[in-house]
Point group: C2
Chain length 135, copies 2
Amino acid sequence: MTSDFNIAVHAVLYLYHHPGSSTSLQLSESICTNPARIRKVLLLLKKAGIVEAKEGAGKSGYQFKGTRRMKLSTIAEAVGTDFTGSSWISGKDNHTCPIAENMPEIMNDIYDDMNQACLKELSKISIHDIAIKIF
Amino acid sequence: MTSDFNIAVHAVLYLYHHPGSSTSLQLSESICTNPARIRKVLLLLKKAGIVEAKEGAGKSGYQFKGTRRMKLSTIAEAVGTDFTGSSWISGKDNHTCPIAENMPEIMNDIYDDMNQACLKELSKISIHDIAIKIF
DNA sequence: CTTACTGTAATAATTGTATTTACAGTAAAG
DNA sequence: CTTTACTGTAAATACAATTATTACAGTAAG
């Protein structure tokens, strides 16, 4: 699991709290990673309409385009994070044992169910809920 | 995320379907990994009372000690898998920005909530439910 | 046309996960 | 009582996934 969702939530909170535009450098200082990674994640938020990105000199940077009621599930869907799952799955290479044969599909179904459960959990939390915790 | 839970579910299904004892070598052939890894995971299931392990020559190996109603959440708790979470967490090293300062706790709380949601989802599925899918 | 940014990609460094190998411990079987 | 067939456990190694670094083309304000 990557930390893209973590970065996205942190960035949205930062932009929510800083009206006007912020650069990937400013975000990277709060988030503690490099600007290139920030830009890669924020590009996904931009495509989902959650942030606006302006290029060029002077007023360029990122701005939050959502409401205080935006749910974390919306952010998770925008970055497309799979919370659960694994590239290693048991039984893949064994086609003689019926259990082995079926395990890949079974495990992927379970991981999918859990991912849905995670998203449902995140749909209960808004960025404003988190902002309240901080300030 | 490791595949310990995957291995544990596969092993329990195998033992559920093969009465009598099975060795870590037999399990490793169905699961497609090495016996040492199997033994490490099954040790956790043994400590939780889900399987019985017999040592020595002849009749040694593993046997399932639960019922058909055993839930996948019980297996997950036995192996102690964290389904969601990340060692990399934003803001760790920045103690000047209030958002950065609070992100580690916020993210860990979110991951904990999601883990609980995953366990709740797994509590709806029994090993017998899965066995039905296979046979 | 320079400047301050974003968008994007390739490569390197780091960390996490699984494999391999090895051996001490245990109890059944001869 | 010794061999045998296993489990329990711990290194060390190999491999895969994640993050960091570097670089540069594209864009629009000044």
